[in-house]
Symmetry: C2
Subunit: 370 residues, 2 copies
Amino acid sequence: MKRREFIKKTGFGLAAVAGAAVVPSVVRSQDPGLPAVKWRLVSSFPKSLEVVYTGAEALAKRIDELTSGKFQIQVFAAGEIKPSNGVLDAVQKNTVECGHTCSYYFHNQNKAFSLDTAIPFGLSARQMNAWYYYGGGLALSREFFARHGIVNFSGGNTGTQMGGWFRKEIRGLKDIKGLKIRIPGFGAEIFSSLGATVQRDLAIADIYPAFDQGAIDAVELVGPYDDEKQSLYKVARFYYYPGWWEPAGRITFYVNKGEWDQLPKPYQAAFEVAAAEVDVRILANYDAWNPPAIQRLVQKGTQLRQFPDDVMHAAYKTAQKIYTAESAANPDFKKIYDSMRAFQQVSDIWTGMAENTMANFMQAQSIAGK
Amino acid sequence: MKRREFIKKTGFGLAAVAGAAVVPSVVRSQDPGLPAVKWRLVSSFPKSLEVVYTGAEALAKRIDELTSGKFQIQVFAAGEIKPSNGVLDAVQKNTVECGHTCSYYFHNQNKAFSLDTAIPFGLSARQMNAWYYYGGGLALSREFFARHGIVNFSGGNTGTQMGGWFRKEIRGLKDIKGLKIRIPGFGAEIFSSLGATVQRDLAIADIYPAFDQGAIDAVELVGPYDDEKQSLYKVARFYYYPGWWEPAGRITFYVNKGEWDQLPKPYQAAFEVAAAEVDVRILANYDAWNPPAIQRLVQKGTQLRQFPDDVMHAAYKTAQKIYTAESAANPDFKKIYDSMRAFQQVSDIWTGMAENTMANFMQAQSIAGK
């Protein structure tokens, strides 16, 4: 946005400059009487996915508080002005100034987008932030997004997702063959390679009817809290874990780069820090609400199942082949993936040591009722 | 601080009110021309524990950016104006307005303080925030701290710590008997109950000499990155995990309650949101720097060992007895512990499902070099 457009849009021209001259003298010169700014944010999430949807509202509220109401962001849920998968386009074209989405929704445009959200057998939520902030991930990611006219901010995580709902038990790799499953992105490619028939692009609203009517045999969505609301347990009894295609699920704030570059520094700081807060809170929210949800589901008759070893190992092997092929074909993917993969190999050994040994022990005590 | 003192301290009285009247009209009335505020923060951490120490500097920098330099916080490392364990007292008495510390340093004053940082077999880093923000933990914690004249904010986490450095291998419970170990808090009580001789109050600077000269047989500190800097690997070969007495290690910002209550709302928002950002970043920092540190330690000859099952189970059982006794004697402890424990029992089962199954699988692939 040009300076003139900016002034026009915000209705804040000379008055701001005049105001700056009369602020009390103890206020430092770097406070130039900040302008009123109004942005619109489109979320990829419907209000029914409340944990992620409300993240954008929390961002807007915090920025309002930080700027004494001068920087306002109006939040629109999926479908209100843009469809769920329209966020990238809307922010790129500056139809809206910012958005809240999962980058892997844009997998078909460039598979490197998936690296920002989750890839099968990729980083966990904690590892994603470690790699992002202290392992070079953010810089690589920003470079990629800048070429799409976007500045990106980590804005939430689901943690490791569940593997989804299956009408029939999966006792081994042979049960994957012929399975009709709703799954997007790299997960779809792996299931397809293992012999399943994948349904990639089923909108959330269409999942339940398709599942209920038997058009699909299996559905993956998010985790217990979100899945329970979609009533999938009414159709299928078996709920599988882990969701190896989503060891984490980052949610990302997108800001139009032109808008960002013209935003006053204190507002940039407000956006960035508010996004970090949303990042902690969404993960904490899922971590708090998923455990009672899984209990309720079990009480309703859901049977929990772990994916068999041969499925895990075949999927892992297939994933590595897909990444090798994609790296050869797509330099955007290769550059980010190589960094992520190197980070992960060192990190997984450490994570498995103190953190997991402890968590495994504690799970055993809980199950034993000790 | 009284209104008069506040004005005196900040040098900002009527001018602020006058300033408010002449700010541009589009600026909402809740922006009253904010005053300049200068605070001091004492950290419990020396600059050598750089990950945690720099967290406070990051907070100050972010608040400066958010307030266009009007709200300034000067950071002092441990020992510069207050000793490491002097933070609670200094903030309570308003010698300084705020601090950055681990609440379990004040375990001997009231064992409920430990619930804010870590207790043996307690919550993980992610569980702590889930319980804090969406499980009632923050409200209970704030109530406890308010009675000490403090407002508390989560401000970092180490993740599950290591179990520390041992000169001799621990092959079972029998090897704990007679062991001279440096360990504070509830961990000390458990080791003592298992027959060890505990050294609770050894300052960080005194650990290496005592260890090197054989006055102690074992030392627990933090994790690979911090421990490596203290050169403990030069004295002992065996590095144990998990640090079951610290399944997480929260670092907390303390603010004097009187100061907080008088702080303008946008500055309160700035402090709170900056603390949340530090919270994410410190954990991410440890998660990024610990993995290569453990690799370096192994290259230097450190041998990794897991605590034997009988030690884990005996320690767990002892911990539960200690919590039952403390709950009976200390209503502050009981009130918070009951909430935390109920949360944990439901959470541990879920965490062990998708998240840990995935992490365990990934660790196995890394170890197998796949």
